[in-house]
């Protein structure tokens, strides 16, 4: 593993020790922006946009589709992530509005710089799109080379969008994203509210602690 990558990832986790679990449970502040979660949680998934123009929505949809692409299983597009983000930016994520307002034009001018005659991300081929995103991603080899001087806002835009895409793809569908539980299907998470053992492959047929302890103690003796 590249040393600087591992170091950076390590730092991005921020903490160690018993609090590490909390660090992953408590997400980055980006998601913790604002105030009206109840509305965000309760408004039904709509297909109208409250924050983005149709043009912007098309761009955001195209970006989220490279962050979690569609292949033989659904991606961010099928999970309706752009709608989740749109609703989020008028509810729980109002503090991130500026990041999007400034970040999207920045990305589009990057498109124009990198690919002559193009001005929209959504017009590029998937390979070209990845090249643009890599130039924004601090942790990708291209991003580290800093082919372009980027403003702090522009960097932040990609990371914000990356996190929002993940949240919109994997959140409990009852709370305004992950349409039809598409994201959960991809990762193999059943959409049930409660579960019963056996939970997985390895606890099937478990004989109980006392029995297991005895049997395994005998096996150890034989050796």
């Amino acid at each position: 593993m590249n040393d600087s990558v591992s170091r950076r990832r390590f730092l991005s986790r921020g903490v160690t020790g018993l609090s590490a679990a909390w660090a992953s449970a408590h997400w980055p502040a980006l998601l913790a922006a604002a105030t009206h979660a109840h509305q965000a949680a309760k408004s039904p998934a709509s297909s109208k946009f409250g924050f983005f123009t149709l043009e912007e929505a098309k761009e955001i949809d195209a970006i989220t589709s490279r962050i979690i692409p569609t292949d033989d299983t659904p991606g961010a597009h099928e999970a309706g992530v752009v709608y989740f983000i749109d609703r989020g930016l008028t509810t729980f994520g109002v503090d991130d509005q500026k990041t999007y307002r400034e970040g999207l034009p920045g990305l589009q001018s990057r498109v124009a710089e990198m690919f002559q005659g193009k001005s929209r991300f959504s017009e590029l081929t998937p390979e070209q799109q990845d090249e643009v995103l890599n130039s924004f991603d601090e942790q990708s080899p291209q991003g580290r080379q800093r082919r372009f001087r980027t403003s702090a806002g522009a960097q932040n835009f990609f990371e914000t969008l990356r996190q929002h895409t993940i949240a919109g793809f994997l959140i409990d569908p009852d709370y305004g994203g992950n349409r039809d539980a598409a994201g959960w299907k991809v990762i193999g998470r059943e959409r049930e509210h409660m579960f019963q053992p056996p939970f997985g492959y390895y606890d099937k047929g478990y004989p109980g602690w006392e029995v297991a302890a005895k049997v395994e103690a005998k096996e150890a003796e034989k050796k």
């Binding site: 160690t16 018993l18 609090s19 997400w27 409990d172 994201g183 606890d203 297991a212």
Partner: protein, 554 residues
């Protein structure tokens, strides 16, 4: 909220005002009101109930619905006393009725005999202020048993050869094993160690008004919607309310303990929801605000008589902070474990609880557990192998394969007390109420980091023996953030070297008691809540005895 709750006037001099309703405050409220006293509990957070405990990760985790909010109550951090502290989130604790016991994982080990007498046993440790407790394991044993039976702990007595003596078995059997538990158990036995069913403060059998665990998979960070998790909300507060003598007053942010001219506490001053100030009068004050907010409140209560903070003649209020050391070793397996289903931890081992420090070269000890504490979203942020791309096709493929096939081995260990590790008042930064923010100063004792590395190696060995396809960990790093907030108003016999005595009474103010993580003298091996609750049961007995002898009230 129970209809049996009385409504006291702030001018009513109740017997006790308890500040904080968490693991300790909830238990003290239950015990003192059951013993016939009139009690007001002031809780800074809201009164949330099971209906509020959704699986909405944005609301619960990202927006801190159950926890202290970094914008309203910001923190600062520095490593050493000479530095200027920088604003950053330093702690997470439960800020609602029930406190941190609402959202915790519910690991419920007892401390062992060694934790109370380690200083006598190992001698002086350079760089640490390690001392013995003024009480022993056997003093606390009856109260551990009380916690297990009254609050509700599932487990299997006698399953671990390293367990300290107990007077009664657990009141209910362990929860069902998970795939992570089976892998951990088999591998650890192969290595000659002694894994056993984890004692958990989660019901495996229903109790009146509380369901057995339904295995929804949302423990760490979430409240339990069926009352199966033995929070003080589910298991103690409601009993207190039913006595008809205990009022739980939420949204009440205490920022000062008021004293009279004779130096006795007369009550607690707090902001209500509209930020109006009130003084709740009481014959005695019991602070259970957690290991960060309890010392902060004492420091905020400084006056002419106590210029360095209340009950701080020792100068130790806020000091000797311990977070517990440790960390995670993550493994991926061939078949789905589906460990996202159900509670977090089903197997634990304590073979390394008491290490021979001369042999290993450091002090302390620890425990290992098999767990999975991710949601789908937090898994995408922190559960995939470190070299995996953060977005795109390979990122998606890693999520698709690993989400169901991953388990963690958590290494829990000692933090040695170090006097400079502390909570204090930040000289510049203020919270949303205009009060000085909490400042964290923390630098792990070098032995704590050595211990963590040593435990990591054992966790790697278990993954190896269990047949993990892939495993990884990050090197232990100095901590800058804590959730176990311990030792900051330590208990002791000598008023010069401790803040409270063995009855939880402050050495300096006769009718002021402290009981929570701040009371702990040592950090155990990583799971403090069981001990905090046991101390609260014991404190309630001691305080009741003192009150009945007329030695508490003004």
């Amino acid at each position: 909220m129970s209809p049996d709750q009385p409504k006291y006037k702030t001018s009513d001099e109740v017997d006790f005002v308890i500040i904080g309703s968490g693991a300790a405050g909830g238990v003290l409220a239950k015990e003192l009101s059951t013993n016939g006293f009139r009690v007001v509990v002031l809780e800074q957070g809201p009164y949330l109930t099971e209906a509020d405990f959704t699986h909405n990760e944005i609301e619960i985790l990202a927006m801190d619905k159950l926890t202290n909010h970094p914008k309203l109550q910001p923190n600062t951090f520095r490593k050493t006393a000479g530095e200027k502290a920088k604003p950053q989130r330093a702690i997470v604790y439960g800020r609602c009725v029930g406190g941190t016991s609402v959202h915790f994982t519910a690991n419920f080990w007892r401390f062992h005999e060694i934790d109370f007498i380690e200083r006598s046993k190992v001698g002086t440790i350079p760089g640490s202020t390690l001392v013995d407790w003024p009480i022993s394991y056997s003093d606390l044993e009856p109260y551990y048993t009380k916690v297990e039976w009254e609050i509700g702990v599932s487990g299997l007595a006698g399953a671990s050869p390293f367990d300290p003596p107990r007077s009664k078995p657990y009141p209910m059997p362990p929860l069902p094993v998970k795939s992570s538990g089976v892998l951990f158990e088999r591998a650890a036995r192969k290595l000659g160690w002694h894994p056993y069913p984890a004692p958990m403060a989660i019901l495996s059998q229903a109790r009146p008004g509380r369901s057995a665990c339904v295995q929804c998979g949302y423990c760490l960070g979430f409240g339990c919607e069926v009352g199966a998790k033995s929070s003080s909300l589910a298991a103690a507060i409601r009993v207190a309310e039913k006595t008809g003598r205990c009022e739980i007053r939420p949204n009440s942010y205490v920022h000062k303990i008021e004293l009279d001219a004779k130096g006795r506490a007369v009550g607690a001053v707090y902001f209500d929801e509209r930020r109006n100030t009130h003084l709740q009068k009481a014959k005695a004050v019991v602070v259970c605000a957690n290991g960060a907010e309890t010392p902060r409140l004492l420091l905020l209560s400084a006056n002419k008589q106590f210029p360095d903070g209340l009950a701080n003649s020792s100068g130790l209020v806020g000091k000797n902070l311990m977070f517990n050391s440790g960390g995670t070793v993550t493994g991926v397996y061939e078949h789905p474990l589906n460990d996202y289903k159900g509670y977090c931890v089903s197997r634990v081992l304590h073979d390394f609880y008491e290490l021979d420090h001369e042999k290993v070269g450091f002090y302390g000890g620890g425990g290992l557990d098999a767990r999975y504490d991710f949601t789908a979203i937090s898994f995408a942020f922190g559960g995939i192998p470190p070299e995996t791309p953060r977005w795109g096709k390979d990122f998606k493929a890693a999520l698709a394969n690993n989400f169901t096939r991953t388990m963690e081995i958590f290494c829990h260990g000692t933090s040695l007390p170090v006097e400079n590790n502390s909570f204090s008042l930040d000289p510049d930064l203020k919270d949303a109420w205009g009060l000085p923010a909490l400042r964290l100063t923390y630098k792990d004792h070098p032995d704590d980091l050595k211990l963590a590395s040593w435990l990591f190696e054992r966790a790697h060995a278990i993954h190896e023996a269990a047949g993990a396809v892939k495993k990884w960990s990050f090197p232990p790093q100095e901590q800058q953030f804590g959730v176990h907030l311990l030792g900051t108003c330590r208990m002791g016999k000598d008023a010069k070297t401790s803040v409270i005595n063995a009855d939880h009474r402050t050495h300096d103010v006769k009718n002021l008691f402290l009981c929570d993580g701040s009371s702990l003298v040592t950090s155990g091996r990583g799971q403090p809540t069981m001990t905090i609750m046991a101390l609260a049961f014991r404190a309630a007995d001691r305080i009741t005895m003192l009150a009945k002898r007329g030695e508490v009230g003004a």
